[in-house]
Symmetry: C2
Subunit: 128 residues, 2 copies
């Protein structure tokens, strides 16, 4: 696991305990935001979308990722996920094992993230 100082993610945007570390703030030169999130077991983001998409690099543990309308994917250390622009998704830890991931948001001049509703327990617990 990487070692970063972190702060707990906003409880209105995440279910359970997740901890974010901003690593690169978007600016006009790199137009890229990068950060690290650790999700405790059971924790996950709300549904959300990114105007220019998002890249996730899984650096530890096991978790879930879902693009709206598709099955939930099991994700683990070493996996790389691309979520296309303006497509709703959510991601988080598995029920039993935490997840650490780096996120990369490109082309931040288009915007970074648009937040939506929480992932229900019913959906989360349906993952096999």
């Amino acid at each position: 696991m990487l070692i970063f100082d972190s702060e707990r993610c906003d409880r209105t945007l995440f279910t359970g305990n997740a901890y974010n570390t901003g690593l690169v703030d978007a600016d006009s030169v790199f137009t890229t935001a990068v950060g690290n999130v650790y999700f405790e077991p059971g924790a996950r983001s709300n549904w959300h979308s990114h105007p220019a998409g998002q890249i996730l690099i899984i650096t530890d543990g096991v978790g879930y990722h879902q693009i709206e309308g598709r099955p939930v994917e099991i994700i683990k250390k070493g996996d790389v996920i691309k979520c296309p622009p303006n497509v709703r998704h959510w991601h988080g830890a598995s029920a039993d094992v935490g997840l650490q991931q780096l996120y990369i948001v490109p082309n931040t001049e288009k915007g970074i993230v648009n937040w939506n509703e929480a992932v229900t327990d019913k959906l989360y617990k349906s993952v096999q």
Copy 2:
């Protein structure tokens, strides 16, 4: 350390043994290239520059990074480095400990990398 399949970096562009894994190939949607490099102790890149700059996330070990005209920086797990567009730099492992890093190249429509000459042993060994 992350687990990725990897291939040895081109010996004309690197001194010593370094192993690259491409994680995200640049495309017209994300315009971002991401990959992982492990440098064995003593290994380093040639001098090079990136038309849109580069972000490095150090994920394991200890290494060196130098922007031309500045002192060599010691870099270690958890560090984040931004190299501005069209500025020459090199990076690699320390003499005694390997280095693992993720690289992020933004705005790849401007180009990815321009390679130059090797870092001399004299320069490399001058690092304290």
